[in-house]
């Protein structure tokens, strides 16, 4: 296969978006054991909120961005409290169905409120491509890459350096012990959903920076994010980010290679999922759970 450095650069930029969505999936999965199938559609909905503020209300980009993320956070918190909490102890399949229901609801809401016509989303990263030798990266791609890395770094810093972040990690590891230390574990779960929705929302806006905003925009992204999360190991936030970058590069290379091509590049994500599950089910960074019986 022709190994194209230029394709790798493009792949990393798109991969940072997959990484962010995968991170959102992992945040929820490791604390609740749920895959939130609605993550992408929630992100699209929040991106429309951002679009309304930035384009319709002419808010400065970063203020609109922040407001949209705050909205996403509250949306995540609300969904956990109102929709997920009641089915917390239900069989996993029931919870999966609930998130699929949320998928449909948010997809229809976006379509109903903002119509299906794709909308351009303004980007603060304007101007031509940046050239280094005969390689180049477009400014929107570079901007998205840097911003999503910053968002992810902030999340990691929150978990690593704050008391609430520590309590959230503890609640994930051992909810009972966390409660015995005085942690309100339910509140931590709400917070986890809020953070995941905010990270997802950021990824939605970054996606809209690169392609047009439409109600089904995150469908393809979510599939690659799943592949990224599985590749990184569903329980590892670092794995999600690394998996996202790897999957982005893989997609980019597959899309331009002569025997796969852009028509067949979506199945690449599924091939990744199947191969990882066959060869290394715990993913690159995931931990195999060993339990004594």
């Amino acid at each position: 296969m022709h190994f194209d450095v230029q394709q790798i650069i493009n792949g990393i930029a798109v991969g940072s978006i997959y990484g962010a969505v995968a991170l959102a999936l992992v945040l929820i999965f490791r604390s609740t054991g749920i895959i939130n199938f609605a993550q992408g559609e929630m992100a699209t909905f929040c991106t429309y909120i951002g679009w309304t503020f930035i384009v319709a209300d002419r808010m400065p980009y970063w203020i609109g961005f922040t407001v949209a993320l705050a909205f996403a956070f509250l949306l995540g918190v609300g969904i956990e409290r109102v929709v997920i909490r009641p089915v917390e102890r239900a069989p996993e399949l029931a919870v999966v169905i609930v998130t699929l229901g949320l998928f449909t609801i948010f997809n229809s809401l976006s379509l109903g409120v903002w119509q299906s016509l794709p909308k351009p989303f303004p980007t603060p990263f304007k101007g031509g491509a940046i050239h280094v030798g005969n390689l180049f990266i477009s400014r929107p791609h570079l901007g998205v890459l840097i911003s999503s890395l910053v968002v992810m770094a902030l999340i990691f810093a929150f978990f690593r350096f704050t008391k609430v972040g520590l309590a959230m990690r503890a609640s994930t590891l051992n909810p009972t012990a966390a409660r015995l230390m005085g942690v309100n574990v339910d509140r931590m779960l709400m917070l986890g959903w809020g953070l995941a929705a905010a990270v997802g929302g950021a990824a939605g806006i970054f996606t809209a920076n690169l392609i047009l905003l439409d109600p089904n925009m995150m469908g393809g992204v979510l599939i690659y994010a799943f592949a990224a999360a599985v590749l990184g190991g569903l329980t590892s936030p670092v794995g999600a980010v690394v998996g996202g970058l790897l999957v982005g590069v893989l997609e980019s290379l597959a899309g331009t290679s002569s025997f796969i091509g852009s028509d067949l590049k979506t199945p690449v994500a599924f091939v990744v999922i199947v191969l990882v599950l066959l060869i290394r089910p715990a993913g690159l960074f995931g931990r195999t759970r060993v339990s004594r019986v």
Binding site: L173, N174, L180, M181, N184
Partner: protein
């Protein structure tokens, strides 16, 4: 007569339709080490989980006699119970395996806001358990069983308990390590004035370190007395304690 810190009165706790505690009553006096004894399934752990608020009792109540007021623990959430100073070191240690020793201790102080006090208490815990100081940056899951037990107790101490609940600290540990841990618990009780409610299967050891004991069988208290008396009474030993 010493004054009661904790009063458990007629507590009934159920797991779904299964009744685990049939009206348990006992008291823990201030400054003492009190032990709950009994065979597997007698309801010792259930009792501690009820006191900590992880389980709700359907009848009876748990009361804590705080400085001036009476707090009904059985109506409070686990978070509130920790805040009023009733803290548990649970069965099987339950340390946060992927967090470092230091982070585990930080978690113990979760309900507290006094930075400098927390720092001082961390130093104090590391004085009682020097090995925790040496392993500060290590993941708790990599510690030996005895070290994890020490961490579990240290973590509970970080919450500044007035009543420390300990569930089976000797579980799976070598006798020598158990001995060492109990020595420290006695020191903590004596020097810090922390009252201890100890659930333990090693009956003879528990009666050596405690002041008072209660014997539980299938969810009720069948016997109580000073640890000295329980230890001496041959028939009690044979019929209830089985050693």
């Amino acid at each position: 007569m010493a004054d009661a810190l904790l009063e458990v009165e007629g507590v009934v706790t159920q797991y779904g339709p299964v009744i685990a505690l049939h009206g348990v009553s006992f008291r823990v006096d201030r400054g003492q080490i009190v032990t709950l004894l009994g065979a597997n399934g007698a309801g010792k752990t259930t009792t501690l989980r009820t006191i900590s608020g992880l389980l709700r009792c359907t009848h009876g109540h748990v009361k804590l006699h705080s400085d001036s007021k009476e707090l009904v623990l059985s109506k409070m959430s686990p978070e509130q119970i920790v805040k009023v100073g009733v803290v548990q070191s649970p069965e099987g240690r339950q340390v946060f395996a992927d967090l470092t020793v230091d982070e585990n201790l930080e978690m113990g102080a979760y309900t507290r806001r006094d930075r400098s006090g927390i720092k001082k208490d961390k130093e104090r815990v590391e004085e009682y358990f020097p090995v925790l100081g040496q392993r500060r940056g290590q993941a708790a899951g990599t510690l030996s069983g005895g070290e994890q037990q020490m961490l579990s107790i240290g973590r509970a101490l970080m919450a500044r308990p007035r009543l420390l609940l300990m569930d089976e600290p000797s579980l799976g540990l070598a006798p020598l390590i158990t001995r060492e841990i109990f020595d420290i618990v006695q020191t903590i009780n004596r020097e810090e004035g922390i009252t201890v409610l100890l659930v333990e299967q090693d009956v003879s050891l528990a009666l050596q370190v405690s002041h008072h004991g209660y014997v539980l069988t299938t969810g009720t208290v069948v016997l109580e007395g000073s640890s000295e008396r329980l230890r001496a009474d041959e028939s009690v030993r044979r019929s209830y304690l089985g050693y």
